[in-house]
Symmetry: C2
Subunit: 492 residues, 2 copies
């Protein structure tokens, strides 16, 4: 069939790449580091977007659109932000091509069309947006501003991987402005909660909410919150971040407001984003050696129906029944695919839809017609059952709910088994090497210790969990006193 | 109030610009030629996207995403296409900034981070997409490919206007691949019909479907179809185009397929797009000297309710009634805004929501409470009526339907009055200068005549209407024989 993918325990990395390509999710383009998101992959991203967009709007946000380009002078205004992204920016320097006089049929950059000021292709939009907010904000009455943008951004990554790390990626970036620090912090935490809720309820992927350490913080932020997920190979994946920006961008772009009391004050800000990286997380959280396993809430196709037939007449009779089932399911809001191709055998189709992660498969043959039955298979556990035809339209919704819950529980079980408490540095290294997952350990709070551990183990502090308990202990590395545990892991 | 805009007949161009800004639709950014689409403007664009996206999917298309950047060597592969866009391309030449040693706190392009091959920021995506289709297409079984992309594109325009002509704009671009010329032409015409249907049913904007002349054709296309609309100042606006690409891009990118008969053949293509330019068309088609007039099908807010009150107690009683009305309307799918601000007077609110084009306004005061009534005003005609409170939830939907029809009919009446048949060149010039609109005239079919008329009158051939009748005549310019009329107009 040419669709097989390697097993996870043979080569996890190759399994992932092949799965992404063979399930028609994405592929590399001829542009360095940029991917093509194929229709099937994009349809999953669209489902993510719809769910997130609704959650953003339900929490009072509106969408808007800001320029792709950031003039260099604006880009460099917030120094830490600029420093953080300067090394990976695509820069537009010219605005015209012309015929190359030395190579027939070729074009060249027209040296006379050099821009006075270079334009940075946005790696993130704080600079251009805060420069705009300056015009929108005069008084406390103009606050809060609760805006989100769906956009493409570019970060010139040297080592790229489909969905996980690409030079161009799609994302949403929320940018809000507030009159008080307190309100901005509440917004930051609220959006972290939205992300966690989305990850768990839609992606069926448990996450740990936490704070980043100083060295992992977003450039220009006062505080970075994150959700961290655990993949099946024991590596962590940062699935979303929400930043409390303090007054940093307001100060850099001179965004002030007159308070109720008539005082001129700097505006408080937040920003928060998730990207097509979530596609990578979704794939790695649930899928198996036969292909994708999709949570029903994000599956572009909920139910695929495969007819088993030897003649046109058989297919015709089956089709009549299938039309009834499809209509009943579609009426309930489910996406149903009837795979009636006569060019492929049922076994091929079964494998193809398993590869693509369709949660429920129905198969109907002539004997089913006689008996008034249908075979129902679920993708996640591969369990099959024979069901009465007239029960299907009521049973499938229950089954889909069960799959959504079930894959979440499985991922949660795996994740919980992969949080290991350690008391010594040797233990930490041993767990990282032999088991992977999150390692919960005391840390002395210094960037030096964090850097030394990272250097030696490739593990970073993924977060200081929000629900961490105060607990006296000693840093596993330095032996210095610590009052709480943090989570270390190797990560994507 | 600071919200007034000039009258259309004083300065149409200024009226448009001020309306776009004061109605919170969009504004200029500090990036040359790029705009910021503000939340209210973006919410109208989102409604357009939703309607179009559904129409694309109903006709079998899927969305996907292709890279923002096109390597120069791919960009130049289809010669005419490259020639057509080369003069207005933003070019990425470097991928890193570094600290400027001569200016503290400033960054500069790192000369060591020069790209081996320059990247063109896509002005349109045929090149990158056909280069991808090469990998997707081997056999007739892989066809058709029916893909659409929602994306930003960049065309370095020297003279820009909000929505109508901006360096960066948002659009959708459909790119389809077919086994036969016939099927590709049918697709081209189908998508033109989709655009016309969208323009008329959603935007309430009548359009003329036609073909472009050779000189107005999309670079790289065999045939360009378009829909042309008429604005209130007598200028035409191209609102959407659909291109039959023949085998041009297949040949340029070597995209071949094995036919059912086993022959290796070049693939046939189409592309089609509409952009945020439609926002400009929507604004200019219906709005008046008091602001926007939005068709209900694209209005982010269908009904605004303004309470007339002098005390908190009055407001409380009014709010109870308003909550009932709002609930009843929302249940029917309408977006309702209750403007209960106590910082502004009703007259201010009336003007503000008129400026923003909300189709229906309800006003309720203490006397209405006594009488069980509400004042209902429609935005398009400014007509007001007093209605029984319990009739509102049934009457408003009928009123919204009526507004949708009514503004279409008004625009259609204006458009039809602005198609003038002429027999001589003097007449053509006179109509263009004194009345504007489309001028229906015989043309000899040569690009020379077309260019001469354009040079002298600034009018272009907007299209050869699809429903044009064969009719013997003489070219108004050259006197040479012609067998059909074409439509001239000055245009945006």
């Amino acid at each position: 069939m040419g669709k097989e993918i390697p097993a996870r325990n043979e080569d996890y990395s190759l399994w992932y790449n092949e799965l992404v390509k063979k399930a028609d999710l994405a592929e590399h383009s001829e542009v360095r580091g940029c991917m093509v998101i194929k229709p099937y992959g994009y349809s999953i991203w669209e489902k993510m977007q719809q769910a997130l967009d609704k959650m953003f709007k339900d929490t009072g946000h509106s969408n808007a659109y800001f320029p792709l380009f950031v003039p260099k002078s604006l880009f460099e205004a917030e120094e830490k932000n600029a420093e953080g992204f300067a090394k990976e920016c695509a820069i537009v320097t010219h605005y015209r091509l012309k015929t190359d006089p030395e190579h027939k049929g070729k074009l060249m950059v027209d040296p006379e069309a050099k821009l006075e000021e270079e334009l940075v292709v946005r790696p993130t939009s704080e600079a251009i947006i805060w420069n705009t907010y300056k015009k929108w904000i005069q008084s406390y009455r103009d606050l809060p501003i609760l805006v989100n943008q769906w956009a493409n951004v570019v970060r010139w990554e040297m080592r790229t991987r489909l969905f996980l790390r690409t030079a161009e990626f799609l994302w949403q970036e929320g940018h809000t402005a507030h009159a008080t620090a307190d309100e901005a912090v509440r917004e930051t935490v609220q959006m972290l909660d939205v992300y966690a809720e989305f990850a768990e309820s839609f992606m069926a992927m448990p996450v740990i909410k936490g704070r980043k350490t100083d060295s992992e913080r977003f450039p220009g932020a006062v505080d970075t919150y994150c959700i961290e997920a655990m993949m099946q190979d024991g590596k962590a994946l940062q699935a979303g971040t929400s930043h409390f920006l303090g007054q940093n961008f307001a100060k850099a772009f001179n965004v002030k407001f007159t308070s109720k009391e008539g005082k001129l004050e700097d505006v408080w800000g937040t920003s928060w984003g998730v990207s097509t990286r979530l596609m990578g997380a979704l794939i790695m959280a649930h899928s198996d050696d036969d292909g994708l396993v999709l949570p029903p809430k994000l599956a572009p196709i909920h139910v695929v129906i495969v007819p088993i037939f030897k003649s046109d007449e058989e297919l015709k009779k089956i089709t009549e029944k299938v039309d009834q089932i499809s209509a009943a399911l579609r009426k309930q809001g489910y996406a149903v695919k009837f795979d009636n191709r006569d060019t492929h055998k049922p076994g091929f189709k079964f494998a193809e839809w398993e590869l693509k992660g369709v949660p429920v498969r129905l198969a109907i043959g002539p004997r089913d017609l006689e008996n008034g039955t249908v075979e129902v298979a679920r993708r996640d556990t591969k369990e099959k059952q024979v069901m009465k035809l007239d029960e299907v339209s009521a049973a499938v919704p229950r089954l889909l709910d069960d799959i959504q819950q079930s894959i979440y529980q499985r991922a949660l079980g795996y994740r919980n088994e992969h949080i290991t408490k350690v008391e010594t540095y040797d233990e930490l290294k041993k767990v990282l090497d032999e088991k992977g997952g999150f390692v919960s350990a005391h840390w002395d709070g210094t960037p030096e210790t964090e850097a030394a551990i990272k250097e030696e183990t490739k593990a970073t502090i993924r977060c200081i969990p929000l629900d961490v308990k105060e607990e006296a202990g000693k840093c596993v590395y330095s032996g210095k006193p610590s009052n709480k545990r943090v989570l270390f892991a190797r990560a994507y």
